[in-house]
């Protein structure tokens, strides 16, 4: 990769980096904001111009960064003639639009936001034209859809803006989805997702049986983006956008993306009958329909929108012809259309800005009031009509020339006739733009008295108009650019010859017919428009709304059938399915004979078993009495902890018993606000079904466990046991698994735990501010409750316990790596010690003595764990690789220091923070329920009485 390659990356990145700036710079004023939008664009343009000479000589500049080679995705860019042309257009017009928008947007519009969106869009567009990898191209393709959604809906207060943005996103985004399919097929055929490889294997692609599906899918993507019939309807609705957006997206860049793609894929896909009939026909139909509708639109921007549709159809048709000469015409017309259409949109924006209307019927006579605007608008519109000496003429001549000798199903006259018809209507609406807006007498009923805008506003269209005339008079000026681009499109070296005068060719006669016919049409416009309004015709928006409505109804029906919110039903289906699958697997008979014999059961263990069974059954029977079943659940927790001890897992037992305690307190806190009884809601039949399901599932799980316990199975445990000390530096295998072998899982888990804590906090916060808060305030306490709020005995006992519990917690934490313990248990033990203080002396008293926010405990825990993991990168190892060593300070014994311990500290903090935050959040509810707070440590403090007596004696 040479210097040029580096430049390419910079060019592609500049708009995205630049997009960060305007949103901030708006604080420094509107001029600063616009300037800082222009800077990255201008820089990228300068870099592009530095690369241009080499590209014009025929070189192709490439740059590649491997990204996801497994997927065939790489960040690779290349710059050839076609890319250069489009990139220059995107950046050049981007600069002009930045200037124009500075004056167009009013003080109320959030300008920083606008420029940020604009640069995002510009970056996405540049990405499309520079990508050398079709997967990367697809990403940028979708990015243009998204950023154009933001831009079209920029005026959020306008409902038509929001609707237009949504429609554009639905149509272009949907087309993008189709294109993804097509591109993947294409990549599969070619065996590579690199564009240069695909373009080189055109013959193999065209011969493949998957050619047609790929072609159709890609064409759907290109046609939706470039507003080809029948997907053209979104473009006029997108005109609700501010005019700079229309001028940029809907004339110069985004809608040309489809055309660009057709041109890009030309060597791979063009040249077949399918290509010709699909692309050329669609283009032809779009061109005629767009031109006809444009003539009858009274809204200036709608007229221009349909004219754009028509011209995009023209480009598509030319590319569809599949001949090199047609490709030359297409590329040349891309340039010409850009210049006159962007200028016209800006002129329409100026007219709207100055007169406060875009309705042609209310305009007229502006030539005298706004002479500068009128001159620029007339020049651009004459070019659009294809009048000699303006650049539109040259490319339209070339188009008619190509159409004149193209046969459609062996019919030699239908293409030229329709092309001429399209040109004729195009002349008519262009003339209408000039005559009905600028011509005629000055009126006295404009919504606002118009005059020419400040120079900043007409500078951009004026520059474009100058180019229109320059190329129109001296077409050879564009030759080098067109040559480079066409060579890239066709894949062969070409040097087209662009000239103004082609002689008395058939195209000239067709042109003359078009101009004369267009003039006649304009003369007849009034009766024609009346007939047009009276004629019935399908309304694209209504059809689109109907389709969207039907799609929404269908998906809602499907999702509501599958996803009806009845949790017990989901669970029943899931359990029944797993039981059925288990039964099928069981009956397959693939189970080997047992290799182990059951161990004898000591009587005490049998007692524990009885306790578990009876407790479980009792919970089922008493589950409607919530408090009672909570007490019984405690038995189950206790038995599981003891079971862990018996089966040689003391640290699991520690964890289990701590979790049990915290859970019970949590449930009791919640139960305080819940009904103490569960009402009967389900029918007996349903309970029977659920009971049977539960029995089947429980029996199934038991059978599986039993089957596994009787057999020797290769498990990962052996690996952990063997490597725990050597690999992780700890003899406590469970802890080493948690903080080392499976450290990444643990890291994810503490994050989830922290999120759960925050969510509970946020939910109770929302609850307290919501409608439930009133009901909370109405909770009444039973009159006969005990008057011992903070009994002396309990307060003293917990105070004594506190330091002991904290020391135990620290001890468990410190030895965790080698002996039973660890950060998780330590966090629970310390949170229990703190909870005891809350229970003994009350919320307010304990809260007043809290030194840290629980939120920040969670945060710092996750950060510490993350930093510890990232520290491994410094040593050049993967995330979370642990290191350990042994340290010896003289007074104490030699001890081990492992980075895993720091990680464990993160776990400890996160657990402590999350548990405390949850309990704290739940108990806040009680404060809201009108409970009084207690600032004294206990109900009755002996010290106060002693003091009182002392005072009594003294006084």
């Amino acid at each position: 990769m040479g210097d040029g390659g580096v430049f390419l990356f910079v060019i592609a990145l500049l708009p995205f980096i630049g997009a960060l700036v305007p949103g901030v710079m708006i604080r420094a004023g509107r001029n600063a904001c616009a300037t800082f939008t222009a800077v990255p664009t201008a820089l990228a343009l300068i870099l592009l111009m530095l690369l241009a000479p080499a590209v014009l000589r025929g070189e192709v500049i490439e740059a590649e960064l491997v990204w996801l080679p497994q997927l065939g995705l790489s960040a690779s860019f290349f710059l050839d003639g076609l890319g250069l042309l489009f990139a220059a257009m995107i950046l050049g017009v981007g600069l002009l639009i930045t200037l124009y928008a500075r004056f167009y947007l009013s003080g109320d519009d959030p300008m920083g936001q606008f420029y940020t969106y604009l640069l995002l869009f510009q970056g996405a567009m540049l990405g499309i034209v520079l990508s050398n990898n079709i997967l990367l191209l697809l990403i940028f393709w979708e990015l243009t859809s998204l950023s154009s959604f933001l831009l079209i809906g920029y005026w959020k207060h306008l409902p038509e803006g929001r609707r237009g943005a949504r429609m554009a996103l639905a149509v272009t985004g949907g087309g993008g989805l189709a294109m993804i399919g097509g591109m993947l097929i294409l990549g599969n055929i070619a065996g590579s997702y690199n564009l240069t490889d695909i373009l080189a294997s055109g013959e193999a692609i065209r011969a493949s049986e998957w050619y047609l599906p790929a072609l159709i899918l890609i064409l759907i993507g290109a046609f939706t983006k470039s507003a080809q019939f029948p997907f053209h309807f979104w473009l006029p609705h997108a005109m609700a956008a501010p005019t700079p957006v229309s001028a940029y997206l809907h004339s110069a860049t985004m809608v040309k993306a489809g055309v660009f793609l057709l041109a890009r894929m030309w060597p791979a896909l063009a040249g077949t009958d399918a290509w010709f009939y699909l692309v050329a026909t669609t283009g032809l139909v779009t061109m005629v329909i767009g031109a006809v509708i444009a003539l009858f639109k009274d809204d200036l921007k709608a007229l221009l929108a349909f004219s754009t549709v028509s011209h995009l159809g023209l480009l598509t048709m030319l590319l569809g012809f599949g001949t090199p000469a047609a490709a030359v015409a297409a590329v040349f017309h891309v340039i010409n259309h850009l210049t006159f259409k962007a200028a016209l949109f800006m002129i329409a924006g100026i007219v709207d800005h100055e007169t406060h209307t875009r309705d042609i019927k209310r305009l007229g006579g502006l030539a005298r009031l706004m002479p500068v605007t009128a001159v620029i608008g007339t020049v651009a519109a004459l070019s659009m009509a294809g009048i000699p000496l303006f650049n539109g003429f040259v490319s339209k001549e070339m188009m008619l020339e190509e159409a004149a000798h193209t046969a459609w199903f062996e019919n030699p006259w239908i293409v030229p006739a329709l092309a001429t018809l399209g040109a004729l209507f195009s002349v008519a609406y262009s003339f209408r733009f000039i005559v009905h807006v600028f011509g005629g007498p000055v009126r006295d009923d404009y919504p606002r008295q118009p005059h020419d805008p400040p120079a900043g506003m007409y500078l951009a269209p004026a520059l474009l108009a100058v180019i229109v005339v320059l190329i129109g008079v001296m077409p050879f000026l564009a030759e080098p650019v067109v040559a480079a681009a066409v060579s890239a499109v066709t894949g062969t070296e070409m040097s087209p010859y662009l000239k103004l005068w082609h002689g008395l060719t058939p195209a000239l006669w067709l042109s003359i017919i078009a101009v004369l016919g267009g003039a006649v049409l304009l003369w007849l416009h009034r009766p024609l428009a009346r007939a047009w309004d009276a004629a019935p015709r399908p309304e694209a928006k209504a059809i689109f709304d109907a389709i969207m409505g039907a799609a929404v109804r269908l998906s809602r029906m499907i999702s509501e059938t599958l996803h009806d919110g009845v949790l017990s039903r989901y669970l029943a289906i899931m359990v029944a399915a797993s039981v059925a699958l288990g039964a099928i697997a069981w009956s397959g008979g693939g189970l080997a004979a047992p290799t182990r014999t059951p161990l004898p059961v000591p009587p005490v263990v049998a007692v524990g078993w009885v306790l578990l069974i009876v407790a479980t059954a009792s919970v089922v029977i008493t589950h409607r009495h919530r408090f009672q079943s909570l007490v019984i659940i405690s038995i189950i927790g206790l038995m599981i902890s003891v079971g862990f001890v018996y089966l040689s897992a003391p640290d699991l037992a520690l964890t289990q018993i701590s979790v049990e305690t915290v859970t019970i307190i949590l449930l009791l806190l919640a139960l305080h606000f819940l009904p103490k009884q569960t009402p009967v809601e389900s029918s007996p039949a349903r309970r029977l079904r659920d009971g049977l399901l539960a029995l089947a599932a429980g029996g199934g799980v038991g059978a599986v466990a039993y089957a596994f316990l009787l057999r020797d199975v290769d498990a990962i445990s052996d690996y952990h046991l063997a490597n725990s000390y050597e690999g992780g530096g700890g003899t406590n295998v469970v802890n080493v698994i948690l903080v080392d072998f499976r450290g990444f899982d643990t890291y994810g888990e503490i994050i989830v735990l922290g999120i759960a804590g925050f969510v509970i906090y946020a939910l109770t916060e929302a609850l307290l501010n919501g409608t439930a808060s009133r009901r909370l305030r109405q909770i009444e306490y039973e009159p006969d409750r005990s008057r011992d709020r903070h009994p002396l005995m309990m307060v003293i006992a917990t105070r004594v316990m506190m330091p002991i519990a904290v020391v135990v917690g620290v001890y468990i934490f410190l030895r965790g790596h080698n002996q039973p313990g660890g950060g998780f248990v330590a966090g629970l033990v310390i949170s229990i010690a703190l909870l005891m203080q809350y229970m003994a002396s009350g919320f307010a008293w304990a809260q007043a003595r809290r030194k840290f926010e629980y939120h920040s405990l969670i945060g710092s825990g996750v950060v510490i764990a993350g930093l510890t993991g990232a520290g491994a990168w410094l040593a050049g190892k993967p995330f979370l690789t642990s290191a350990f060593g042994y340290v010896h300070f003289p007074p104490i014994e030699e001890f081990e220091l492992a980075t895993a311990m720091l990680f464990d500290l993160g776990v400890f903090l996160a657990v402590l923070g999350a548990v405390m935050l949850m309990l704290h959040s739940l108990s806040r509810l009680a404060r809201h329920a009108g409970e009084t707070v207690n600032l004294e440590p206990m109900d009755f403090d002996p010290r106060t009485r002693a003091e009182a007596e002392a005072d009594g004696k003294g006084g």
Binding site: V607, L611, V614, Q628, R785, L835
Partner: protein, 89 residues
Amino acid sequence: MITAALVFAFGCYGLGLLFNLWRIVNGPNSADRILALDTMVINIIALLILYGILRGTAVYYEVSMLVAMVGFVSTVAYSRFLLRGDVIE
């Protein structure tokens, strides 16, 4: 000798657990249940120590101490719930 004593003690505490279970399931009132649960925790602590003696390792003593330290907290919570309704006032 020590083995026989251990077997006897295991039997006693096992029986104690069953009695506790009966009290928890039958009630009749919540205070009975909470007390029985607390007694159950104490029986468990005893069993853990006995098991430690049987196996001859110190780990179980620690576990029993931790169970003792933590085990009474839920009893306190249940009692507070019964007496005041709110566990943390």
